[in-house]
Symmetry: C2
């Protein structure tokens, strides 16, 4: 069990490869965030000639820095890295992160040789290497980020990601749906610190409740399998294996140089280890949302309640396609519902599963009573509510009342519940949909924008507990 706390919480950071221009890539993505995120340790900009950068004293080399350096971020060209490595050894640096690329992932002899050289210097000098060819660390708790636009708020999800771009994409998608991170690491070529090191660390990290990952391949198959198994025993682990198809495997080779392996092997490996394997980054977020907010589901009997007959039909089809069981409502439940939503008021109303409580459902009390009655029925394990984000003059008021009623009612329920808010790409609808998501995230209700994604995620969420 590796304790990598010192990597995520260094006392001092030096950045090599900065420019005098404040808008340059390295300044923007590595120096500025440390200042903006309130990193509490010492920051040492390294620059051959500048005496000051971004208001901080700069030094010509790591060896010129007066105090100790825990962590170095390197963004100089690949051919200069062995020299820097030697200086770092002399300085007693603990970790060096290479944003620099041009190593083994290039497929070129010289790149492969260079990667081997710096890794050997690191081993001999007792320095851990992160990368090369990666974005590095995002740890809001210690004020480290490689993207100025990432949230400053910490969460309980750890993310190990072989792709820098995908790590940025996932943090953004997740942030939009109210999910925040304890730690994110983009680890690229994994020449030293690799997927297993981080997985083992996250398994024991008390700040981390859910582990998610995007992995393209591994060079230490046995260790990774064992790490996956141990992680899955204590926390939900949700993984995308990049390069599961034939052409995908080739794409991986030119991306991180990893051996992707066959998709069938990975699938059975993940299944046996108790890992939830999903297809893309959005699906990681869908599943994380469920694990973050919900109590375990005791079964797959779904109760659906919403406004709109056509939506109810599509919700039902989506659920059944994903092997979710639209349980028949018991006669006594139907009788109770008839009192709450009399079918003669609006003949569109249906008090069977899926319950379409029709326009009557826009009344917040009616909706609340119907929802609670269905949720308390012992033939139901999981509740899905749905609503079309309306447009028009009183749309804001209507949808806000509805969501407030959902949130208030949810507090009294003991069963897992999720909501589908169908929307269109019209600014007014999107703004309302984002508002709904924010409110629901605070209240612990997962929100999906399609039945399809909701049903797929819920089925895997329930499957996770069935397999245990």
């Amino acid at each position: 069990m590796p304790d990598l706390d010192y990597i995520f919480y260094p006392n001092s950071i030096a950045i090599v490869g900065l420019s005098r221009s404040p808008g340059s890539y390295v300044n923007h993505f590595y120096l500025n965030p440390l200042i903006r995120f309130g990193y509490k340790g010492d920051i040492y900009p390294i620059h051959p000639t500048a005496s000051e950068l971004a208001g901080l004293k700069a030094y010509p080399s790591v060896l010129d820095v007066p105090g100790p350096i825990d962590h170095v971020i390197c963004a100089i060209k690949a051919t200069s890295t062995p020299g820097l490595m030697k200086e770092c050894v002399a300085k007693g640096v603990k970790t060096i992160h290479f944003f620099t690329s041009g190593f083994s992932e290039s497929g070129e002899k010289e790149g492969i040789r260079l990667e081997k050289e710096i890794t050997e210097i690191a081993h001999q000098g007792n320095i851990r290497v992160l990368g090369p060819n990666c974005m590095g660390l995002y740890c809001p708790g210690s004020g480290i980020s490689y993207e100025p636009s990432f949230p400053r708020e910490s969460g309980n999800v750890a993310f190990l990601c072989q792709s820098g771009g995908n790590s940025i994409q996932l943090v953004h998608i997740a942030g939009g749906r109210g999910i925040h991170f304890s730690k994110v690491v983009s680890y690229g070529n994994a020449s030293d610190l690799n997927e297993s090191d981080f997985l083992e660390y996250f398994t024991h990290d008390p700040q981390t409740k859910i582990i998610v990952g995007y992995v393209e391949g591994t060079r230490q198959g046995k260790r990774f399998i064992s790490a996956l198994r141990k992680a899955a025993m204590v926390k939900p682990v949700i993984m995308v294996k990049g390069g599961v198809t034939k052409a995908g495997t080739k794409a991986v080779a030119s991306h991180t140089g990893a051996l992707a392996g066959s998709s069938a092997i990975w699938e059975s490996l993940f299944r046996q280890a108790g890992i939830i394997q999903v297809c893309d980054l959005e699906e990681i977020v869908d599943l994380t949302l469920l694990f973050q907010h919900l109590q375990p589901s005791k079964g797959r009997r779904i109760g659906i309640v919403g406004i709109g007959g056509g939506s109810s039909v599509l919700a039902t089809d989506s659920c059944e396609r994903e092997r979710l069981n639209i349980a028949e409502f018991a006669p006594e439940l139907i009788e109770k519902l008839k009192e709450i939503v009399p079918t003669e008021v609006d003949p569109g109303t249906s008090v069977r599963n899926p319950a379409d409580i029709s326009a009557q459902g826009w009344n917040p009390d009616t909706f609340s009573k119907a929802l609670e009655t269905i949720a308390n029925h012992n033939g139901i394990d999981f509740i899905i509510t749905h609503v079309n984000v309306p447009l028009g003059p009183s749309a804001d008021e209507l949808i806000n009342q509805h969501i407030d009623s959902l949130i208030k009612t949810k507090q009294r329920l003991t069963k897992p519940i999720a909501t589908v808010a169908l929307r269109s790409d019209i600014p007014e609808a999107i703004n309302n949909a984002i508002g709904i998501q924010e409110k629901c995230a605070r209240a612990g209700i997962p929100v999906f924008s399609s039945f399809d994604r909701a049903a797929r995620a819920i089925s895997r969420f329930i499957g996770y507990y069935e397999a245990r």
Copy 2:
């Protein structure tokens, strides 16, 4: 071949069931849109006591209206409808649309009897009935709409929809992605005018280039099959069958009272007729977007070009899952690409398929050259480009330059092309994404927000031409 022009382009409309309160449901959804959409015929509000509604002279009954009435919109309670029907016969009305529900879909004897009664009066009196239990007509070209928020702009897509709610949802989703309609009909219980009538009409409607539908069931199986076959011979027809699963079939019964039939029967029926069957409303829009903008694809050899290695891997996996072929680039193409995006400038660059042109791709000229070179290669049938909608200080400029370059280059290409713009639910990203969609819709480039949906739609689009 029924000519239903007179239904979509009536010279006069009477609305029965209006209220004195301007914000009431019927006024808001039926009277106000006629005024706002600039309906050119005569509008006759019917009200027992009011002499004027929304600035228009009101009449106590249809019989009191001085001129002829082509079309009546009825929103009074079900039990009063036989009386109204008789008045309409006496008045010589051509079509009556029943927004009113409480007929056969209620499952109650009295409702079933009432529906039979009004349908019989209609047959004898030579009036066509639309519905009951439906939203009715949206025809921007004649200024008729049942939703004030629908676009006033006409398009070339006709939509037949058994569910009122789904019709509203689809028009909104489509509008957000730049798709507009020639005609939409929500036809509910289909007691008289049914899915086949509208399908036959849309097949011959010169304003309609693409037909889409949401159908829950039919009472005239043979006729519908024949209508589907004839429609598919002349126009792309994209259909959702609501209630394809066991529970979905039951949901349909309490929604529109239709006989849903088994999913296997519908699937083979659609396949044989040449219909593109999809799962949900978003997928209808995805496919429509492709048919609306693209020339036919000659095969399923896909060329992928984008910025980001991890995205390239996921794009490839999505494509292969949907049986799209990520063709290997020929050596001469690879050589050409190496000149445009030298791999030594940014070692993340890959000039194989999927081409990851890395940060170099943010240069609009570089992107344009790489895209055109790949598109002109004769081993490629269809091009997918992808980009992450960026966040941060220069994000707007970056993405706009990129999209402008895409649009400019596309004008020179002879092969179908689509774009995936990955985004997150952060207002800044969404606003940029909506901007991208609008620009691309005008330029004839279909935009998707996930690889998954893009690949699924593109595979079906290509399959459509393969089957012909």
